[in-house]
């Protein structure tokens, strides 16, 4: 079957989802990356995560509904995604990867598509199903995650033009790099807090002296 690859930008995510193994090669060939589409995808990722926590049916809901704080959701979706992109870019530029930051950003967000879809289906279906029928939900979630993981692997393979073992290695090192980045960020935040407190104490001390 021959596909017409002169696709508009918004159709590319749907195309790569239907071709999880070869789709990203076509995407790279046709330069179908689009920041706007990627941003919409990430926003959808964030919103569906929040929606899943808040709107899952009571029988399947373990959310602490007394308090709602958007920060954990934000950091576990958008922030984590950005760190992933940064780590992968900084690693793969060193290891002869061909992908640019834009390519990694768009590819990764497109790869989230099945997971987002599964979360939406989960949230809707959990309001209809009973506890006995929870197998369907588990199935949908596993399917979504597995599909996304396959797409992520094939995507990294395609945009960096790696072999399969090198791709897997790159992913492992990317995860390690993410941990290091997060560690340094936490360290920096703590340090700047200390510096801020230091200057603030000097300020208050001066205030007491001269008033």
């Amino acid at each position: 079957m021959v596909y017409d690859l002169h696709l508009p930008a918004w159709k590319w995510p749907f195309y790569v989802v239907r071709h999880p193994l070869e789709g990203f090669e076509d995407l790279r060939w046709k330069k179908g990356y689009n920041i706007k589409v990627a941003l919409v995808m990430i926003l959808a990722f964030f919103l569906t995560t929040v929606a899943q926590a808040r709107m899952t049916g009571f029988i399947f809901n373990s959310d602490f509904a007394k308090v709602f704080n958007i920060v954990p959701y934000f950091s576990s979706t958008i922030l984590l995604f950005l760190v992933w992109v940064l780590a992968n870019w900084s690693l793969c530029t060193l290891f002869n990867g061909e992908g640019t930051m834009k390519a990694i950003f768009c590819m990764s967000s497109y790869a989230l598509f099945p997971y987002i879809a599964s979360m939406i289906i989960y949230t809707v279906a959990s309001n209809i199903l009973l506890w006995r029928e929870r197998g369907f939900l588990t199935f949908i979630v596993i399917l979504g995650i597995a599909w996304s993981v396959v797409m992520m692997i094939s995507g990294i393979k395609a945009i960096h033009q790696y072999s399969v073992p090198k791709t897997l290695l790159a992913i492992i090192f990317t995860l390690l790099a993410m941990v290091i980045i997060l560690f340094i960020v936490v360290l920096l935040v703590a340090l700047f807090q200390q510096i801020y407190i230091f200057f603030y104490t000097i300020y208050t001390e001066l205030l007491y002296r001269f008033s």
Binding site: F58, I59, F64, A65, K66, I128, L130, W131
Partner: protein, 532 residues
């Protein structure tokens, strides 16, 4: 013009009315020194109305004792065949048993016991000719020592537990005589007919001491003895005084700690392993038996999380384990909303009332926790302190006629709680609820909710009532945030009803959608063909 006298009268009436209204509000205010609470869906505490109030506090003065009570350890309330009720208090450090009635007027002491004529020594009568077949000369000496006891007197040394039983019309008293290493069985006048002693060394660890703390007997005459040194469960003796084995041991923790210990055992020394905590099951701190001969045990240890409370059926199996309540958290949660081992209660005693409610006594917080048959917390009352209704070292809890009796061993007092008006309402509703008469329980439950909109069980009860009357939507609302199980049931019925009412419409929509899509598909194809 205002009449001066009339004005005065009106003023007086108004003042009296205002004062009266204030008085009534004062009278309505609860004056319990503790804050009754319960746990919500996320196990966070919230205050509820008081279910129990202090009825009486009995001290040595009320009992008119010449020698006051000294660290009493156990209390038991016993109703004999004639319906006469007596309260037994084990006055541990005075080495005696205080027996009184429910009004605490007639007080009797039991401190000296006589080995009665029917004192049963052993099953066999050894003679010198039977020596050899597993019987030694020592046994014969021991036998004649026992026979020589008949008619002599004996006293207690730090008794710590008591159980009184109506055995086919006769009263049997079992006393855990702690420092004398025995359990005495006597009649109500103190005539001993049996002594339960340390079993032979082939079944019982010779290094472990035999210091019975709590004792219990079932309808068949079997006696269960709790020892602090034995973690294999309670010791079970039959009516003849023979040791029949260990009964209802606590399960070992099958958590990651057990795996870790198994791993450590591969290369760590024996001494190291022995010093590890949580390595073995722990002993019971209290036990009780209900009218259906189920035995309930409670464990005080704070280092383990499994089998804190058990309900053991007559064949020795833990019913709660089958119901998935083996790792249930009983007592207080210090850190709410953290699953796992967050409890810090030291549960020292348990009692089960005739409705099947469990009352657990926590010596850390001084509270009594009332649970229903399904293990849901209903009320908490009591606390730590010096005021009436608070305790410093509670040791025993007992129930009779929906009143709760708590013994404190440092205040040397017996505190009696009775249900408040609200508590009685809840008990009535719970009674109907537990018997499955949900429709009838609708009225008391809605009354409970009117008085305390926070009362957790009322929502579950109302939900079940609505479920039984067929108001599934309302049931759903009541079960939301209160019961997964009930919500599931209500939702199932609701879904079935919805499908039954709307199936034709849904089918129609699906057919129309298919027709439209198919039509559009065909139309697009035709248009493309013409263009192409």
């Amino acid at each position: 013009m205002f009449n001066k006298k009339l004005t005065k009268t009106v003023l007086a009436v108004v003042i009296i009315a205002v004062m009266l209204s204030f008085m009534s509000s004062f009278m309505l205010t609860a004056n319990e020194p503790w804050v009754p609470y319960n746990y919500d869906w996320w196990l966070e505490t919230y205050p509820v109305q008081s279910g129990y109030v202090v009825d009486r506090v009995i001290t040595s003065n009320e009992l008119k004792l010449s020698v006051p009570l000294k660290s009493p350890k156990d209390v038991f309330i016993y109703e004999d065949a004639k319906g006469e009720v007596s309260v037994y208090i084990v006055d541990t450090d005075n080495h005696r048993i205080i027996i009184t009635d429910l009004e605490f007027d007639k007080v009797r002491e039991l401190s000296t016991f006589t080995y009665g004529e029917d004192y049963r020594v052993e099953n066999f009568v050894p003679t010198p000719s039977s020596v050899g077949a597993g019987i030694k000369y020592d046994d014969i000496e021991a036998y004649w020592d026992e026979v020589a006891k008949i008619g002599t007197k004996t006293t207690l040394r730090n008794p710590s537990g008591i159980y009184v039983q109506d055995y086919h019309g006769e009263t049997r008293i079992y006393i855990a005589d702690n420092n004398n290493d025995r359990v005495l069985a006597c009649d109500k006048d103190g005539n001993i007919w049996m002594e339960y002693k340390r079993p032979g060394s082939e079944v019982f660890d010779p290094n472990a001491s035999f210091r019975p703390t709590k004792v219990l007997a079932d309808n068949a005459g079997n006696v269960y003895v709790c020892l602090t040194t034995i973690a294999k469960g309670a010791l079970m003796f039959n009516e003849e005084g023979d040791f029949r084995g260990f009964y209802g041991a606590n399960k070992l923790e099958e958590t990651s700690t057990a795996v870790l210990h198994a791993f450590l055992r591969l290369f760590m020394s024996r001494e190291f392993m022995q010093n590890l905590r949580g390595n073995s099951a722990v002993e019971f701190s209290g036990l009780t038996i209900d009218s259906d001969q189920f035995i309930y045990t409670v464990t005080a240890s704070r280092s383990v999380g499994t089998d804190i409370v058990k309900k053991i059926n007559p064949s020795g199996q833990n019913v709660y384990e089958k119901e998935g309540k083996s790792d249930w958290t009983w007592g207080a949660w210090i850190q709410p909303y953290v699953y796992g081992r967050t409890f810090m209660s030291t549960l020292v005693d348990i009692t089960v009332d005739d409705k099947g409610d469990l009352f657990l006594l926590d010596s850390t917080s001084g509270q009594v926790f009332q649970y229903d048959q399904d293990g849901y917390l209903i009320f908490t009352f009591g606390g730590k302190g010096e005021q009436k209704g608070l305790f410093t070292a509670p040791t025993s809890v007992e129930d009779y006629d929906s009143k709760i009796y708590v013994l404190d061993s440092t205040k040397n007092s017996l505190t009696i709680f009775k249900p408040s008006e609200f508590g009685e309402l809840v008990i009535e509703a719970m009674g109907l609820f537990n018997r499955g008469r949900y429709t009838e329980s609708l009225k008391p439950w809605s009354e409970v909710l009117k008085r305390d909109a926070n009362f957790y069980m009322a929502y579950v009860g109302m939900g079940n009532a609505k479920l039984s009357t067929g108001d599934f939507n309302e049931a759903l609302d009541y079960f939301h945030m209160h019961s997964y199980f009930g919500y599931n049931l209500a939702f199932k019925d609701l879904r079935v009803n919805y499908m039954r009412d709307n199936f034709d419409r849904m089918l129609l929509i699906v057919i129309i959608a298919i027709v439209i899509f198919a039509g559009a598909h065909i139309a697009i194809k035709i248009i493309r063909k013409r263009k192409g």
